[in-house]
């Protein structure tokens, strides 16, 4: 037997599912969201998603090159970032807008912190927030869905723009569309966030494949619904307010695809519940007092920043973590820890 044997470390069996597989599930769900816009507007949504994903890939490779590493695709999280970014811009926005947002997210938020799983903020959320702050007009001028319109896939088109229901709510008026009609994705809004039913189906898929955690989404929506019922923005019954608030804007989309991002959300169950509720409350606060019609990305960023503190708070509630003052002991034993690590 001429076998060149090598040695390796256990374990010698591994689970089939890997990080790329989980991200692939998410990316698949996001692509499912592209169907309805493609049917309605032609190939432009596909082009938008493609260019934004491509930008993410190029930015990642560029950063790796500057870092002196061999550029590698890694776990391909840029695909999810790019797709989410593309979903949150209007379909009639210029093509460079999602690219700029995705580039900001990858270059500023993701790579400097060491990539997916290390970055404390959701890159897509940061990119969209950046685009919102820099080009608010472009971000909030939506194509009027009333007349059928087929956009050119590449060129920028001058279109008749309409106010989205979220903007109408922000201005304190009642949208002229029934809440149930918001389910089918025919209202004006960001590219991938209007079809509530499809988003729900994607949510079920993600929860079933354990690519997202249900408790975060549930607590997020619960907090939003509660606040919407208690403090309606428009003069209507609490139920109507809840319907409008949950179905307008990018709330549902963020509750499924951005808040549940495993890299930036707390790991334990109670902390996840706290985190979801916090994010939902922050979102409603942004809707009431915020400056822009879409506050979801800012709320996600705030929640990401609060996540470690919430985790710590959850531990304190269960009486596991030491009080704040005891941090010194940790450093004292920390030297031992370094010895054991080295």
């Amino acid at each position: 037997m001429r076998m060149k044997l090598r040695s390796a470390l256990p374990p010698f069996v591994r689970t089939e599912e890997s990080v790329p597989a989980m991200l692939g599930t998410t990316a698949f769900a996001l692509c499912a969201l592209l169907v309805i816009p493609t049917v309605r507007f032609g190939a432009r949504p596909l082009v938008m998603a493609a260019v934004s994903v491509l930008t993410g890939l190029l930015c990642e490779l560029l950063f790796e090159l500057l870092r002196g590493h061999v550029p590698s695709v890694g776990e391909a999280s840029f695909a999810v970032t790019g797709l989410v970014t593309a979903m949150l811009v209007p379909v009639n926005a210029p093509l460079w807008l999602p690219c700029a947002a995705c580039a900001f997210g990858v270059l500023t938020v993701k790579m400097p912190f060491g990539g997916f799983g290390r970055s404390p903020f959701n890159p897509a959320a940061a990119g969209i927030a950046f685009a919102t702050v820099c080009w608010p007009k472009l971000m909030f001028s939506y194509l009027d869905p009333s007349e059928p319109f087929s956009l050119p896939p590449f060129a920028d088109a001058a279109v008749k723009s309409a106010q989205s229901p979220a903007a109408v709510l922000k201005s304190g008026l009642k949208p002229d569309i029934l809440p149930l009609d918001l389910l089918w994705g025919t209202a004006a809004g960001p590219l991938g966030t209007t079809a509530a039913l499809v988003i729900g189906a994607c949510a079920l898929l993600l929860f079933a494949r354990r690519a997202a955690r249900w408790e975060i989404t549930v607590c997020f929506l619960g907090a939003c619904a509660l606040l919407a019922a208690l403090f309606p923005r428009i003069a209507c019954s609490p139920m109507t307010s809840v319907k409008y608030e949950l179905l307008t804007g990018s709330l549902l989309f963020c509750s499924v695809f951005m808040v549940t991002d495993p890299g930036t959300s707390p790991h334990t169950f109670p902390a996840g519940c706290l985190y979801g509720a916090f994010a939902g409350a922050a979102l409603m606060v942004f809707r009431h007092f915020g400056a822009y019609e879409q506050g979801a990305c800012f709320a996600v960023l705030l929640a990401n920043a609060a996540a470690p503190v919430l985790e710590y708070a959850a531990e304190r509630l269960r009486g596991q973590a030491p009080p704040l003052g005891a941090a010194k002991q940790g450093t004292a034993y920390g030297r031992e820890g370094r010895i054991h690590e080295s």
Binding site: M111, F113, Y292, A305, G325, K328
Partner: protein, 193 residues
Amino acid sequence: MFARMLTTALLAMTAESLLFSGGAGFSRVLRAARRPRSILPYSLFVTLFSLGSAGAGVLLKPHLAGDRGEFLRPAAYAAAAALMYLAAAWLLHRFAPAFYGRNEGPLALSALNTVVVAMPWVQRIFGFGLSQTVGYALGTGVSFFLASLVLSRAGKTCSNPDMPEAFSGLPAELIYVGILSLAFTGFTGGRVF
């Protein structure tokens, strides 16, 4: 009375968080975040000194009107803070030397900090009553505490083995703060407080 105090506290907290996101007194917040133990005394000092400096601002305001006042105001506030610090440090140094020895740095820096934070605030609020002053001080302390808490937890993610060596530590923290202030920009929409 108490309600007004609380409302002012809330107002101050939001304003402070915007200010921190805008960078005011940020060096001090970072300092506090580096050593989690010092967060509590730090916030305490900040509260007390804010109380003092707000009072000073109320007292000095009428004398510092007009262009000359505009010119003199920063120096006047700084001087007031310096005097307050002098008093506090002397008292502590005299009567509680151990406590003073433990919290020397925070004391001085928080005195400095309150000037930075107080000035814009006092500029805008006219006619501070006592309750509002107290509320403002409480709000400042609480928001300082929250900001330091968030940043102290953020420190762990800002230096990890996977990130580029050049970014670990302060650069990553600066970017972190930048994104945080971007999030707060969602409230103000392009205007700094």
